[in-house]
């Protein structure tokens, strides 16, 4: 375990001086320039798009009619209400489960923590579209496998569950977001100094007081980061509400955005109205960002790190507690991984989509899997996907580290602006990032010919996933007291050396978590890859989409299962490397 110690509470200190002279601005300017390129350019094009009569940023003219159309739509407030209910519900499910799982895995004495970590993160490997399809086949009120089994077993006249309802949507979306919540929270749980808890308990604090006065304040930045992020993500995601909401006429803002982009009968994507709607997300995001800063600024007085080594105290659960915890984990694993994957496995063995039955079992075949591997495009797309995912993951991890370091450790001029910029892409719909990138890289084609290549997809992912990286590392970085760095600075170490020798080792688990999260999401992300598809930049998600949109869910399921298997391999590798790194550091 990283040698970090959370010591006693101290008052906030003045920000550590970053140095003297004009050079102080150089890191801010460099990182700022990168962010302007990645974030401000798409943002400006989105704003411009929202006031162009034709909706394309390079169209002539000026209008405000897109705002009138977006916000004057009689359905608008009903969409907002449903979207907020859906987003808040999914966030609550993901956050609740994420906190519980993070505590169990990181702070309790459950055995096999490495394996448990992998199991918690495994749902991240399933593309949300496939997850939605699997749950539709499990909990459809008409012939969902679980419903039919329960009706048969309990002699019920009606299906007990209906996945095509708001609670159904919240349940599936919440489950899909649990790994993200966990990755936000786990490093913060792992970095909690037991001495604080011991001191509180020695002073007679009960569990409630310990939770309220010690644990929650320490965890507040990470929990708020996670909540903000999950809420915004829940408001903009489309796959699950689009697939499960449409049959039951549950429409959210992302469904409306999809309609405006893809299905508008006008024949052109209504980018103007989409951009106008996205302003709502932007305002919401900035508001949440402001709230986050206010709340975490107060929490900094509980930030307590010294150079003394510690190991987080593991709470003994006892035999009964362990059994209950393992049962809860098994339940989570069953719902989030086993049930949907079994359903996907079943679909992948069928010649066409059909429910589980003894009759259908006779149709089972491995042909879909054989076809998948016989398809020459699979190898090609796999290579592309790996290059894109590894590049995007590494770039996000590096840039997020720099952003977080600049904004929370160095407190350089412009730090707040940089922090806000790193969070803004979350509010820009992926499709608008795609629109901006198309224009930018068409214009730059003579000097930087990446339009139509895999690299434009990597740039899109870098922009899209930067908010996760920056917020995750922020939540961890803010926990580390600057006095270690100050001590190093006083001992003559330079800023770069401090970052390399002190800060980076302390936040390394979170950096690794960011890397694996971005990798997993980049391997399955579809909308940007589709938008930026060229002659020879197909990736695995576009290949799966090719199957799916061609009416072939069985090949999609087969491919999705192998994608999941590949991600499991990555997760195992990541866990293995993390364990090895931990052991070496301990030595």
């Amino acid at each position: 375990m990283t040698a970090v110690r959370l010591g006693t509470a101290v008052r906030p200190r003045a920000a550590a001086p970053a140095g003297q002279g004009g050079w102080r601005l150089v890191p801010s300017l460099l990182v700022g320039a990168v962010l302007v390129w990645l974030v401000v350019v798409p943002l400006v094009l989105m704003v411009v798009s929202s006031v162009r009569p034709g909706g394309f940023p390079l169209d002539p003219g000026f209008t405000l009619r897109h705002y009138a159309a977006a916000y004057g739509n009689p359905r608008f407030w009903s969409l907002v209400g449903t979207t907020l209910a859906f987003g808040a519900g999914a966030t609550a499910v993901a956050l609740g489960l994420g906190i519980g799982l993070a505590w169990l895995v990181e702070r309790s004495d459950l055995p096999g923590r490495g394996v448990l970590r992998g199991l918690v993160l495994l749902p991240m490997a399933t593309p949300p579209l496939l997850l939605a399809i699997a749950w539709a086949m499990l909990l459809s009120p008409r012939n969902g496998a679980i419903n039919l089994a329960l009706m048969h077993a309990l002699d019920l006249s009606a299906a007990p569950f209906d996945i095509y309802t708001l609670p159904g949507l919240v349940f599936v979306q919440g489950l899909a977001l649990v790994p993200t919540a966990y990755l936000f929270l786990a490093p913060a749980f792992a970095n909690m100094d037991p001495s604080l808890e011991e001191a509180a308990m020695a002073s007679g604090a009960g569990t409630a007081m310990l939770l309220r006065r010690v644990l929650l304040p320490i965890l507040r930045p990470a929990i708020l980061s996670a909540a903000t992020f999950l809420l915004i993500v829940s408001l903009v995601v489309f796959d699950i509400p689009g697939t499960l909401g449409t049959p039951g006429r549950i429409f959210v803002l992302s469904t409306q955005i999809y309609y405006l982009v893809s299905d508008s009968p006008t024949g052109m994507p209504q980018y103007g109205e989409v951009s106008a709607l996205a302003m709502l997300f932007l305002v919401l995001l900035l508001g949440l960002g402001w709230l986050y800063h206010r709340l975490t600024r107060a929490a900094q007085r509980f930030r307590t790190v010294t150079g003394k080594a510690f190991r987080p105290r593991l709470f003994p659960l006892g035999r009964t507690g362990k059994a209950a915890a393992l049962a809860a984990l098994a339940g989570y694993f069953l719902l989030s991984v086993v049930a949907p994957l079994v359903m996907l496995g079943w679909i992948s063995l069928m010649p066409y989509q059909t429910g589980i039955s003894a009759v259908a079992l006779k149709l089972a075949t491995l042909a879909n899997h054989r076809d998948f591997f016989a398809n020459p495009r699979v190898l090609h797309a796999t290579g592309h996907s790996l290059v894109v995912a590894v590049s995007a993951a590494s770039a996000v991890a590096l840039l997020a580290l720099l952003v977080s370091w600049l904004t929370t450790r160095l407190k350089l001029p412009g730090a707040r602006a940089i922090d806000a910029l790193a969070f803004v892409p979350l509010a820009i719909p992926g499709v608008m990032i795609g629109v901006a990138l198309v224009y930018v890289y068409i214009a730059l084609n003579p000097v930087l010919p990446i339009y139509g290549t895999i690299w434009i997809i990597a740039v899109a992912y870098l922009t899209q996933y930067l908010p996760f990286g920056a917020r995750t590392l922020d939540g961890v970085m803010v926990q580390i007291h600057p006095e270690i760095e100050e001590a190093a600075l006083a001992s003559g170490a330079g800023r770069g050396r401090i970052l390399r020798r002190i800060t980076l080792p302390l936040v390394w688990p979170a950096v690794a978590a960011v890397w694996i999260w971005v990798l997993a999401h980049a391997l399955r992300e579809l909308s940007s890859a589709l938008m930026l598809q060229g002659r020879d930049n197909g990736v695995i998600p576009t290949l799966l989409w090719d199957y799916w949109s061609g009416g072939d869910p069985t090949h999609t399921a087969a491919g999705g299962l192998w994608l999941t298997a590949a991600l499991v391999l990555f997760l195992a590798l990541w866990q293995g490397l993390a364990r090895r790194a931990g052991l070496e550091r301990a030595r």
């Binding site: 394309f56 449409t246 006429r249 024949g267 994507p269 989509q353 429910g355 224009y439 009416g551």
Partner: protein
């Protein structure tokens, strides 16, 4: 006897005209192929999955070995038009040919991004080219689907009104986009179809975000009947799923057209491909690969299948009217309104 002689003369004349048309098209194809080969590859934006497109590309390459055809699958919806707009505005290489529906064709024409082509001058029959910007390639054909394991043939819906039967309450699937119902308005009129959709809503239809999953849901027995699209029902049908297709009367169709973008780099290549696809050889190659053919092109299965049926469709010059109607119907479907 004199009548027979007259008939014979007429037949010979018709054959002669057909031969002359074929000769003209062949000449045009040869000239365009020579021109296209010098201009580099031909880029085609179209929505068929890559595996299907590969078959069309192979047939084209066999016929025109000196012309390289590259298919870029666009995901349907509105993205093909958007891509052409953005690439044209940015001065980048765009498609040499794009296959689009009425709704995309119209804004491309309005933006000056579609090239006028005298297709009849290349030997194409007038009926295939309703606008100088468009050459018919294929049609989206709306059909009724039902699950044969759960619905007896005698009980199956045969026509539009049969979908209103309360028997299908909660077991009827519709595409969330009322494109098929929109096409029907060309024959029935807008208000009659609007009233029809309200009656459909009383049957609590299950809305699907695409007709592909709709067909799969009917195959899986999740839905008993559905209003789908002929070619999107083919994947489960070909794999032995228990579904059957019924053509209602009139048949709602939406034509898809080949358009040469104004800024095409290899316009000759784009025209060559469009022209070839409008020949029985190219039309069949397209239909065999994609299961959607040209109802206006003799020699295709689709033409034979729809021959004698009433087709309900909006021509390109009524695209805006069609868009307004579809928008209205979309809202009706989404609201579930019955009054």
């Amino acid at each position: 006897m004199r009548f027979l002689a007259w008939l014979g003369a007429l037949a010979l004349s018709a054959l002669g005209a057909a031969a002359a048309e074929a000769a003209t098209i062949d000449d045009s194809l040869a000239k365009l192929a020579a021109e296209a080969a010098k201009a580099g590859s031909v880029i085609w934006y179209e929505s068929s999955p890559d595996d299907q497109a590969a078959k069309i590309v192979a047939a084209f390459s066999k016929r025109f070995p000196d012309v390289k055809l590259e298919h870029i699958r666009d995901t349907g919806g509105n993205s093909i038009g958007a891509r052409i707009v953005q690439e044209s505005q940015g001065g980048a290489r765009t498609a040499d040919l794009a296959t689009v529906g009425n709704s995309i064709l119209t804004p491309l024409i309005e933006r000056g991004l579609a090239a006028k082509v005298d297709w009849t001058g290349y030997g194409i029959a007038q009926k295939l080219t309703p606008s100088p910007y468009a050459l018919s390639l294929t049609a989206v054909t709306y059909v009724i689907l039902y699950n044969t394991e759960q619905v007896k043939e005698a009980d199956a819906p045969k026509n539009w009104d049969d979908l209103l039967n309360p028997r299908w309450n909660g077991k009827l699937g519709l595409w969330v986009r009322a494109e098929g119902e929109g096409g029907l308005a060309a024959a029935w009129g807008e208000d009659k179809v609007a009233a029809y959709i309200k009656k459909l809503n009383a049957n609590h239809p299950v809305l699907e975000k695409s007709t592909f999953p709709l067909a799969q849901q009917v195959a899986a027995g999740e839905l008993l009947v559905g209003l789908g699209i002929y070619h999107t029902a083919q994947p489960p049908l070909k794999r032995g799923a228990p579904i059957k297709i019924v053509f209602p009367n009139p048949v709602s169709v939406q034509m898809l057209y080949d358009v040469v973008p104004a800024q095409a780099k290899n316009a000759a290549g784009g025209k060559l491909l469009a022209l070839w696809l409008a020949t029985p050889e190219g039309g069949r190659a397209y239909e065999d690969a994609t299961d959607r053919g040209n109802p206006l092109l003799e020699g295709t299965k689709t033409e034979a299948m729809l021959r004698g049926r009433t087709l309900s469709e909006f021509p390109p010059d009524q695209a805006k009217r069609e868009a307004e109607i579809v928008e209205r119907f979309n809202k009706l479907l989404e609201s579930g309104a019955t009054q």
